[in-house]
Symmetry: D2
Subunit: 177 residues, 4 copies
């Protein structure tokens, strides 16, 4: 199984990107997770669709070819980052060519505060239901506090979080199979 | 009164940008509406805050100096455009320097379909409540269908929409006064 | 296939209840739709779980035995009716015995105004994703205006609405199969 | 100042009801907080409006006479309890006689889990913005874990929570003044 993962944060030491890097070793055998880059996308502009940007097309193609999608999002202002929404908007376009359609999707997020990006994921799941994906409802992955989950090299070391992720990846794999 | 308006769409013939251009003639006497440009903002990246981008700082300064804010948003995938959220994320940063705080805010949106961006505005209002603004709850401005509101030159001509906007601008002005 | 349908409105001439009554003739062959009654439920109170109310247990049992669930909701104050949420709360209890888990769910709603209960269904879908159901994302069923859909006997007569419902029932049946 | 408070939970030992009972001693001088009872309301039914139920009318009258409103809500299935929404639905009716209009509103919630009812309050704030209230955006009151906040007699004893509530009540009082 070929899974594409997107991090909603662009910063170099992002906890959510760290989280995605930690998933490969927790995934069931035969599940391959590739992290997509969304930092090179232009701001979405319908006028730019005529010459669809290469970075946007590449992301669309990667999602279209995937068996499933994982999105790890920080929470900015109680919603998802504009950066992440911008990537989703490109993948959903042009009209009638939504590359997310039919894909099983797992959302997660890690935060320093106690909410674990629950409010961001609420918006994200609404968007993903609209985009005709199969959103995993349980388990929910509201993770943190971020600084207690990783070691100095950015490896996920907190055991109960690892257990929860193993369970969630298993559910995602079942939805794909 | 000095009001800054933001359109959530970058396309040249955007109905929401048209809508904002039509507001000045409907506003009460003494209310000045300036449309801000969000097309030149980079994708938000916390690492970039160290050298805060000039376009982001200019938008922050404009909002900070405003007596009130108007946001006209299209609906992309049942939420606000990534482009608009990206602008909001910049204005809310750096930590502790949210330039929206305390401002009266009026949201609106026009669409070709019948929802009039109601779902996008639901997310937008949640974000704006979090950002400690004073969000106008009534009247709601779920406008459209877009192609019946404007003439060929992009002037708002539909009378009941104009009446609703006059009422909403009056409420915004009262909140500012 | 055995489907249980819930109307979020208690009023006798509810458009949403009418809508549910019209579904049987639009459903694929072999799909049986039964409308559950939620009017006799007490207000949910955790203290009352010790002697779980018979009406609540009956609703739980009906959902548990169903292959799929349909919910038709009016929109009250931009969310679902308290009456409907009360029914959902009972079905989700006691702790660990959520009778919705794993069920394919189709939501719909009809309104006099133009939103077609889109904002109510946004809340409803969030709740249903949390309850570990399989929510149908497309097609969306934001129906109306109510008074143009039905004849004087309460039969659904508007053709494009019927077509949309046929399509949605087909998607639900596929999810069950 | 006369404030009416509503608890979204009916159970006898509700943490949210305890929370409301603790507020009076934290409120600024001259602020009076009365807890309304929502347990005797019938399930909302538009047909019942013709003979508006006495319990619903009493709640409407109390809200209408209040200078401000406080709502403490548990989170049921990632939204507000049906019981609470039912009370809100009654207060908003009959059509055109929404008794919440114009009132400053403070929402809060306490939970055993770490989210502190953040997702329930997201729905609640959307509803309250629609009902034309003035919703306090900051500080947010996502409180808990519940069992660490109160002593055996149900008195709020956790100091940082008390400080946060004092601050929030001050903001509410300012909005009323």
């Amino acid at each position: 199984m070929n899974i594409v993962a997107i991090s909603g944060s662009l910063r170099k030491d992002s906890f959510n990107t760290m989280l995605l890097r930690s998933l490969s070793e927790l995934a069931p055998a035969g599940v391959d997770i590739t992290i997509a880059d969304i930092s090179a996308l232009p701001l979405y502009d319908q006028d730019a669709e005529a010459a669809f940007p290469a970075a946007a097309q590449a992301l669309k193609d990667a999602i279209a070819a995937a068996d499933g999608v994982i999105i790890a999002t920080p929470e900015y202002n109680r919603s998802i980052p504009g950066v992440l929404k911008n990537a989703i908007d490109w993948v959903s376009r042009p009209y009638g060519q939504n590359s997310f359609a039919g894909k099983p999707v797992l959302t997660m997020g890690v935060s320093v505060g106690k909410l674990g990006t629950a409010l961001a994921q609420a918006h994200l799941k609404e968007i993903m239901v609209y985009l005709d994906t199969r959103v995993v409802g349980q388990p929910e992955l509201y993770l943190g506090p971020a600084h207690e989950l990783f070691d100095a090299s950015g490896n996920l070391t907190e055991e109960s979080t690892k257990d929860l992720l193993v369970k969630a990846l298993g559910v995602l794999a079942e939805r794909i199979a």
